[in-house]
Assembly symmetry: C2
Homo-oligomer: 221 residues x 2
Amino acid sequence: MDNQINILIVEDHLSYAQGMQFLLQQNPKINEVNIAIDRNEALAKLEKNAVQIVLLDLQFDTTEYDGFTIAKKIKQLYPEIKIMVLTQHARKGHHRRLFDECAVNAYLDKKLGIEETYLAIDEVLKGNTYIDKSIQQILDIEEFMKISSREREVLEELCEGQIQKQIADTLSISPKTVEVHVRNLFKKFRVKNSTELIARYIVYRNANRDTNTEMRLPFKK
Amino acid sequence: MDNQINILIVEDHLSYAQGMQFLLQQNPKINEVNIAIDRNEALAKLEKNAVQIVLLDLQFDTTEYDGFTIAKKIKQLYPEIKIMVLTQHARKGHHRRLFDECAVNAYLDKKLGIEETYLAIDEVLKGNTYIDKSIQQILDIEEFMKISSREREVLEELCEGQIQKQIADTLSISPKTVEVHVRNLFKKFRVKNSTELIARYIVYRNANRDTNTEMRLPFKK
DNA sequence: AATTCAATACGGGTTTTCCCTTAATTTTTG
DNA sequence: CAAAAATTAAGGGAAAACCCGTATTGAATT
């Protein structure tokens, strides 16, 4: 069962697809790797062959369709197939469309090493989503840069240990609104709860703050 | 009512006490400032004069008593009097004894500016406790250095957004035990909840980590 | 030997967070 | 100007956190 993984690469740059095909075939867990260079070939091959994973490029030379429409079509026809999107340039707008509209399972940079691709395959087969670290960083920072002022206020209050009700009082808004801000921040930072949110916020706040910020601690370890 | 504040300074270094007396008298809210240079004089003056605040030095030249015993005696006789402890060298052991055994209301560094002393007076009169920032930092770091390994594991899991039940699973202990660790960490860091705990933990973890730690972010703002 | 402290665990109750939904108003942006 | 975000708000319910105890064990310290 474990070495029965069949993969379809959907990618109009044949040489890249063949290189990836070769690399994937080195993994004993992977049974068969096919290539489709356009939308129609992809749908035709999905009809004939049972595959568990589609590796999908986002950019196609044609203007007829793109990775998004292909992803949606495949998910509509075969909801159980895991779609792993490859991209040259990660964009947060793409990311949002991919996961919200197209329900893809992974978002990977084309420069990714093969080992991490294997890891990503394992994760999506387990039912998890996977975003590789370099993409994650770009997305994080793009998102971080556009935290609204209200959201930043909420974050700073959370760091002080204020509970939602208290934050609502100091900002003179409803506790329910504070809750919405917190929930939107969960999405932006892609975290599960407040503690993880604050952990990530502090790290990025420290990393991105101006260099003239004084260090308040009297000594270093 | 507001400018009826009477203060007793208990301090065996007269010149320091007199300087403090002068400074405090500049504040229109403060009515009278007296000085006692030893334990007996302090108790005698408390009997005669109604004071709301005692400014107490921790170190005395005699070995008969110290600031701790005086604080306990005063709180025993006049529980409503707020005791603000002054120290030259903050120690976490002192801090713990002061707040747990002696129930003092503030812990201040002698080097503190007068404005922050006024602020501390306001806070203790409101019923809050006050610890000045420089002392707080020393205490924080002393505490940070002696987080138990179990506590550190819990902290790291919290940063990853794991909930107490999940942490219990990964550490193979009861969720109730995880809860205890978290509550002990609240005390050590003197925070109100998990979000504030993580905010402080990350700041100190970053401040105290080795300099050869690579910065993972690709660019700075 | 005695004390302290870290780590373990349980019970019971209150508070807060978190999730799902819907929706109006304002601001920003293309 | 129209579309897209941001900000505002609400209700209901499940899950998690938090607070108050008590208690046992083993290891370290005095």
